[in-house]
């Protein structure tokens, strides 16, 4: 692997992304076994440092770590000393002083993982930094696409919803572009980031056109706090213009893969019937999440050498 850390996919090499995806598939096989555990990271200690609420990402990482036999410690902001006024730097250095190998961090501030690498020696894995990146989510999305289509190159992916505030979108854009896929962003103009075209993607405000074009769509969560903040008039208006509704998909009569990073707002950005339909691979994404994170941890923490020694 070219990089010591996984901070984001902006400058992540295609061959390393491919290695992670391929490794994820071998761990998928492990996850299908009756005993779902391998000794790859035995003796390694990983801290899950969550400065922001998360259920699925944290559980996914924790399971991945346990399946690899690593020792894990969980830290979340609500129980931490941050509330007692300790600085980010102190928290990080204190945890590292306890001799650990890697930190998986979720933080509300863009750039926080890079900042962390300046204070500690351990390997840092970004589990989401504000509105910047969420690289492991993008990798699990790509793993799921590769599983479904057998390739990433040339795939047509629509990302629909609140792009401007989405770390999932930005990491997906970087990863998919690196792997040779085509990306179109679709959402209200107020939720498309300025200079989006500079990311090498297209923007289309017509969701029906995007559906007709795409091999797969990735539907992002619409946060209710965006309503009333002047960015969106109402749920009704959003559903009319961008909602992945039963009626809309009926109209298209098209085979298409539907993804959602979760947590879903059923009835807002996506209808229940669609989320639970055969074309949705939302639960495959969750399983691939564990496998992809196992692959990332294994490749970054030098699990390979351990295994070879065994």
């Amino acid at each position: 692997m070219k990089h010591k850390h996984l901070l984001g996919l902006e400058e992540y090499p295609a061959e390393d992304i491919q290695t992670i995806i391929d490794t994820a598939f071998s761990f998928r096989e492990v996850l299908e076994r009756p005993i779902k555990k391998v000794p790859s990271l035995q003796g390694k200690t990983i801290v899950n440092l969550f400065f922001e609420n998360s259920t699925r990402t944290r559980i996914s990482f924790e399971l991945a770590q346990k399946r690899l036999s690593a020792d894990t410690v969980n830290f979340s902001a609500s129980m931490s000393s941050l509330k007692k006024g300790e600085t980010f730097k102190d928290t990080a250095q204190n945890i590292e002083a306890m001799k650990i190998d890697a930190v998986v961090m979720r933080h509300p501030s863009p750039g926080a993982p890079l900042h962390l690498t300046q204070h500690i020696e351990s390997i840092v894995i970004n589990a989401g930094d504000g509105t910047h990146e969420h690289p492991t989510q993008a990798i699990l999305d790509m793993t799921s696409l590769q599983e479904k289509f057998g390739r990433l190159k040339g795939l047509k992916i629509g990302i629909i919803g609140d792009i401007a505030h989405s770390r999932v979108a930005l990491s997906n854009i970087y990863g998919l572009k690196t792997m040779g896929a085509n990306v179109t962003l679709c959402g209200p103009a107020t939720l498309i980031p300025p200079f989006a075209e500079d990311l090498g993607v297209s923007v289309n405000y017509n969701v029906d056109e995007v559906i007709e074009w795409a091999d797969a769509i990735n539907v992002l969560r619409i946060q209710r706090e965006r309503m009333g903040g002047g960015l969106l008039p109402s749920v009704r208006e959003y559903r009319n213009l961008f909602g992945i509704t039963t009626e809309r998909l009926k109209m298209h009569k098209k085979e298409m893969v539907i993804m959602h990073p979760g947590p879903m707002n059923r009835g807002v950005e996506i209808d229940s019937a669609i989320a639970d339909s055969d074309q949705a691979i939302i639960l495959d994404q969750v399983l691939n999440g564990v496998a992809s994170r196992m692959a990332i941890l294994y490749l970054l923490l030098g699990g390979k050498q351990e295994k070879e020694k065994n």
Partner: protein
């Protein structure tokens, strides 16, 4: 830094005397007697005179900065009038205007008096700028008349914009009675929102909330038109965008009462530099694109800007060690100023050194109606002596501010301050 009391007689020997008022430079000596300019030209050193060899150096007026934050009263942990003075001296600045966004703000005659009294003990001349509105709240005007009597030289709510156009109009109209500049920090809060950097490609890549260039230019345009309406004297601080330059250039052509400043950091950096989330580059208004930077450089050469101002804004390491979105806005800039602007403007963009020095000396003094003929016989010596060619690496030990939030540490600069003379003291830097 070594500060000593001026001897009775001192001769600055064989320097290049750069007179920014006359716009000339020629070799010569300066005799200072009892702290006052005695003779300029060829000086035969009298007995018992200190002789300072100025061969290869430029001797000019002490620099004057219209825009610094010395944080006293309220945040003396970041800077005091005393520590800020040391930073100023190191940058060749013998005279500064301090912004009123202290805690409490300088919004009353009493707080102006406090600053003036405290400044008397400091080794440089410090002039307070009073707040435009009480508590910098943008609503009620301050007692400008009384504050001027106590020593205020201009008015600004710097750090915060006067958002309400009606209040800004009143402030400008009211200030016309006194003929002093009004300075407005132009950033429309409705467009700025929670923006922490310039809106552009880089912000999109970094995932940081950003504000576009018109956040500034829109409000500057409003202020320029209000100035036209009221006949007031407007000084536009820390201009950061090409669009703002355009507006200022247009209205300045026909209105002499408008002046504008630019900072070294807006001339030196672009938003590309923020790619590592360096919190020392988080400033307001933000560092903008290369297009904007080039427009600012051109505007300096074209004379759109009257002066260079540092917007020296100290913050503690602890505050700047946080994440980018939460770190406070501002960087220090006094100590590094000349080495930066000389490099950008004179070395890289072929600007005339005399013109650049004018932007650090006579031009800002004119805006504030300070004494400008500092080479006249009998004037209290207020001089800065620089080596315009010295190449040096700016390091932590070159910082005299109580705060260390400089993005220039490790940067190589060209041009260095060697000596300053002000308030009867001689300061040397090695």
């Amino acid at each position: 830094m070594k500060i000593s009391k001026l001897r009775k007689r001192i001769v600055l020997k064989n320097g290049t005397i750069l007179d920014p008022l006359a716009g000339t430079q020629k070799k010569g000596d300066i005799l200072i007697k009892d702290g006052k300019i005695e003779k300029i030209g060829k000086v035969k050193p009298p007995n018992a005179a200190d002789i300072i060899d100025c061969e290869g150096l430029i001797v000019t007026h002490g620099f004057c900065d219209l825009h610094v934050h010395f944080r006293e009263p309220g945040r003396e942990d970041k800077e005091t009038l005393e520590s800020g003075s040391m930073a100023a001296l190191a940058g060749g600045f013998t005279r500064v205007c301090v912004m009123p966004n202290t805690d409490p703000p300088l919004d009353s005659p009493e707080s102006i008096r406090y600053t003036v009294d405290r400044s008397e003990e400091c080794p440089i001349h410090i002039h307070p700028i009073g707040a435009i509105t009480k508590g910098q709240a943008g609503q009620e005007l301050t007692e400008m008349g009384a504050m001027l009597s106590e020593g205020a030289v201009a008015f600004s709510d710097d750090g915060l914009p006067v958002t309400d156009a009606g209040v800004m109009r009143n402030a400008l109209e009211y200030a016309t009675m006194f003929g002093v500049p009004v300075i407005n920090h132009a950033e429309d809060p409705y467009l700025k929102k929670d923006g922490v950097m310039h809106e552009g490609k880089i912000a999109t890549h970094l995932g940081l909330p950003a504000s576009p260039d018109i956040t500034e230019s829109n409000m500057i345009h409003r202020d320029l038109e209000l100035t036209e309406l009221t006949g007031a004297q407007l000084h536009v601080p820390h201009v950061s965008s090409a669009k703002s330059v355009h507006h200022i250039q247009e209205i300045k052509k026909k209105n002499e009462k408008i002046s504008a400043e630019v900072t070294p950091h807006h001339l030196f950096f672009t938003d590309e530099s923020l790619k590592t989330y360096n919190t020392n580059l988080k400033v307001a208004p933000p560092i903008r694109s290369q297009v904007d930077r080039k427009a600012l450089i051109k505007a300096v050469k074209d004379g759109v800007f009257d002066c260079i101002a540092t917007d020296h804004a100290p913050h503690t390491i602890e505050e700047k060690e946080g994440t980018f979105d939460l770190a406070p806005f501002g960087m220090i800039g006094l100590e590094s100023c000349f080495g930066i602007v000389n490099q950008v403007m004179v070395i890289k963009n072929n600007m005339d050194l005399v013109k650049l020095i004018q932007m650090l000396t006579v031009n800002p003094r004119k805006i504030m109606d300070f004494e400008t003929d500092l080479f006249a016989k009998g004037v209290n010596a207020e001089l800065t002596i620089i080596d315009p060619n010295e190449e040096w690496i700016f390091s932590k030990t070159d910082i005299y501010s109580r705060s260390g939030n400089s993005p220039y540490v490790g940067e190589s600069l060209i041009g260095r301050v060697k000596y300053t003379i002000v308030k009867g003291h001689f300061t040397s830097f090695s």
